[in-house]
């Protein structure tokens, strides 16, 4: 099996991180201070986590958005998104 | 040619040349192409202007290799490339040792015209190491010949290893390491490459690493 | 006749990218494709980069380039 089976995953993830970086700099131009969970990235992370189980490249695009956000932002959202994906995977695939 | 096949999966071609059979595997083809490309580029490049700073002075001087000096060193570089092609394509251990010593000689030649005391000192020490190491180099080959009655790598590849061959291999290793200025003797090399003339110095490093990679293959094939 | 640097870079970029494209179309044998990729991927990325570098990114930059002539050290 070739490696480029995962080319869409990698490309979409990279694109997602780039978009995330750009957009989060639009959202936050102030110095990094707050450490609370924001609603919009959380929703995106949850969508990403859900989509990973169904169609992985698209899910990675949304997760990449949260991963790639400005340094310091999007950490909790990422963790929550991955946890959600794990829970969904356990429910759908294993059980 | 079983050991050669184990190393390379297949042989592209070989030249029947009496007892000596030069052969070409994907590995030696890659080596030859690398050496040819490097030799061409190194021979075409002009030497760099070396900036030199000294403690206590607030100036940066640039020096370069003189025209006459560059000419001789370029010639030695090309010769070293030719010797390297011999090292990687030959199918006979005795030829291998001859080419390796030729590589050593050309390496000293590259540095012989540098007008710099510490470089010449280092080159002199390297020359001493080379001369000392030619004893184990040829001695190892003689041992292998005495034990097996052949020097052709194609035949040696099919002969199973035994203690005498192992001693021969160790001698060959010590000899080639000394001739190519490899790991334990690299101290002289580090002193030598402080000289000017980037392309020529780079050839020396290339030669020792190419000898090294080919040496690994030969050590695997013998025995 | 002296060819301009940008034109030369463009020609070289095309020349180094062509073998790869030809190889994809003609489906060359294994050893040849390995050789082509090894020899032509780095130079083609280099020359494509040179061409990209010389393209003006904005109008303002273009004006600046005409103004300042940096001749090196």
């Amino acid at each position: 099996m070739p490696y480029f089976d995962y080319l869409p995953h990698i490309v979409l993830f990279t694109v997602g991180t780039l978009i995330g970086l750009e957009v989060s700099y639009k959202w936050h131009s102030e110095p990094f201070v707050n450490k609370k969970i924001e609603p919009i990235p959380l929703i995106i992370a949850l969508i990403g986590g859900g989509l990973i189980v169904i169609y992985a490249p698209l899910g990675l695009l949304f997760l990449g958005f949260v991963v790639g956000m400005r340094p310091g932002y999007g950490v909790y959202e990422t963790v929550l998104g991955i946890l959600f994906a794990l829970i969904l995977w356990v429910i759908l695939v294993i059980i | 040619m079983n050991d050669i096949l184990d190393l390379n999966s297949y042989i592209i071609g070989h030249v029947l040349f009496g007892d000596i059979v030069p052969y070409l595997t994907p590995f030696s083809l890659a080596l030859v192409i690398t050496i040819v490309v490097f030799t061409i580029f190194l021979a075409l490049s002009k030497p760099e202007l070396r900036s030199v700073t000294r403690f206590g002075e607030d100036v940066v001087r640039t020096t370069t290799v003189g025209k006459k000096e560059a000419k001789f060193r370029r010639f030695m570089t090309i010769l070293c490339g030719v010797a390297l092609i011999g090292v990687v394509t030959t199918g006979d251990i005795f030829n291998f040792t001859l080419f390796v010593s030729l590589v050593g000689i050309t390496n000293v030649g590259i540095f012989a015209v540098v007008k710099d005391t510490h470089v010449l000192d280092a080159a002199f020490q390297y020359g001493l190491v080379m001369m000392i190491c030619s004893l184990p180099l040829f001695g190892g080959v003689a041992l292998i010949l005495a034990k097996t009655g052949t020097l052709s790598l194609g035949v040696l590849a099919g002969i199973p290893g035994n203690p005498v061959l192992n001693v021969g291999r160790m001698l060959l290793l010590v000899g080639a390491v000394g001739e190519g200025a490899l790991a334990p003797f690299f101290a002289t090399k580090v002193e030598m490459i402080r000289a000017k003339g980037a392309p020529y110095i780079n050839m020396m490093h290339l030669s020792s690493l190419m000898v090294f990679t080919r040496l690994i293959e030969i050590l695997f094939i013998v025995g | 006749m002296k060819i301009q640097k940008q034109t030369k870079n463009r020609i070289l970029a095309v020349l180094t990218t062509l073998p790869i494209l030809i190889g994809i179309i003609l489906n060359t044998p294994l050893v040849i494709s390995v050789a082509i990729l090894t020899f032509f991927v780095p130079p083609s990325t280099y020359y494509l980069g040179l061409v990209l570098m010389a393209l003006p990114k904005s109008k303002k930059e273009e004006d600046e380039r005409e103004k300042i002539t940096f001749t090196g050290y």
């Binding site: 070739p2 | 790991a183 695997f220 | 990325t45 980069g49």
Partner: protein, 290 residues
């Protein structure tokens, strides 16, 4: 999904692009982990890829002191060597000896890159590159042990051997550790990275920026991927032999490397060489267990 035939040009090119993007993300992850351990937010994971593409649109200036065709050609040689290693290794599963050759030539090009610009800092970096070429010692020990064990150096046969007899890590643990040290010495910010130490500005890379730095980074990313792949395939080939498992394990190994790089200081040149020698000699002890 229609695949291009294995071994065709398109196939190899796609593999190359995948490896480049994935390797870039891995190096970004590596940097992020180091930053997190040191208590900084750190750059985003794509930062390494962004850097590589950024350098492609930056202006290239070539120092007047440089040795001209060599200055450009040696950088192209560096990335060509890793392209060859990638094609022979992960794509075609060919002879391992070619990858050894590629590593050796990579050392030569590091040396040449430093020499060609004529700057004292790059000269220092290249002198150290020759010094640290002693790290080639694990390179002769590990393949030798693998060859004595499996009687082959063709990668596909090594993988088959491991599928039949179990991973080589069980038989050659010390050789695996020596190879891991070799891998460590090629990652950025590592304790043995005397060639690009910040005490000599940026080592041999000091004078290289613009497009040529982009090409250099392209080669380095591929090199990181190939070395990781070789380490995993030669010593864990029995367990990790599909792309998915290999890629996931690569992420794991990168995290381990990140921890090591973040927690260790840069070692002085001679000590660095000495420590790598100690690990190589330890690997030689492994001969007794075969």
């Amino acid at each position: 999904m229609i695949y291009p035939a294995a071994g065709s040009m398109l196939y190899m090119l796609l593999e190359l692009i995948t490896a480049f993007l994935f390797g870039g993300l891995l190096l970004g992850l590596h940097r992020k982990i180091i930053a997190r351990i040191q208590g900084r937010p750190g750059p985003p994971i794509v930062q390494h890829l962004i850097h590589t593409f950024k350098f492609y649109i930056k202006e290239l200036t070539i120092p007047e002191t440089s040795s001209m065709p060599l200055y450009v050609a040696i950088v192209l040689a560096l990335s060509a060597v890793w392209v060859l290693a990638f094609l022979v290794g992960p794509v075609l599963l060919g002879p391992f000896s070619i990858i050894i050759m590629c590593y050796a030539v990579h050392k030569v090009s590091e040396h040449g890159i430093g020499l060609a610009s004529g700057s004292p800092y790059t000269k220092m970096g290249s002198t150290r590159a020759v010094l640290s070429a002693t790290a080639e010692m694990p390179l002769i020990v590990a393949p030798a042990l693998v060859f004595f064990k499996t009687h082959t150096l063709v990668l596909s046969d090594i993988i088959n051997y491991q599928i039949l007899h179990g991973s080589l890590f069980m038989d050659l643990p010390l050789a695996a550790i020596a190879t891991f040290i070799l891998l460590l010495s090629k990652t950025p910010f590592n304790p043995f990275g005397i060639v690009w130490g910040k005490d000599i500005v940026s080592g041999y890379k000091t004078e290289h920026f613009g497009v040529i730095r982009g090409v250099m980074m392209f080669g380095e990313i591929l090199g990181f991927f190939v070395l990781l792949w070789c380490f995993l395939t030669i010593f864990f080939g029995g367990i990790f032999n599909t792309p998915l498992t290999i890629m996931l394990t690569m992420i794991g190994v990168t995290i381990i490397l990140g921890f090591i790089c973040a927690l260790t200081p840069m070692i002085a040149p001679y000590h660095s060489v000495m420590i790598q020698w100690i690990f190589a000699l330890l690997a030689l002890i492994n001969v007794l267990f075969i």
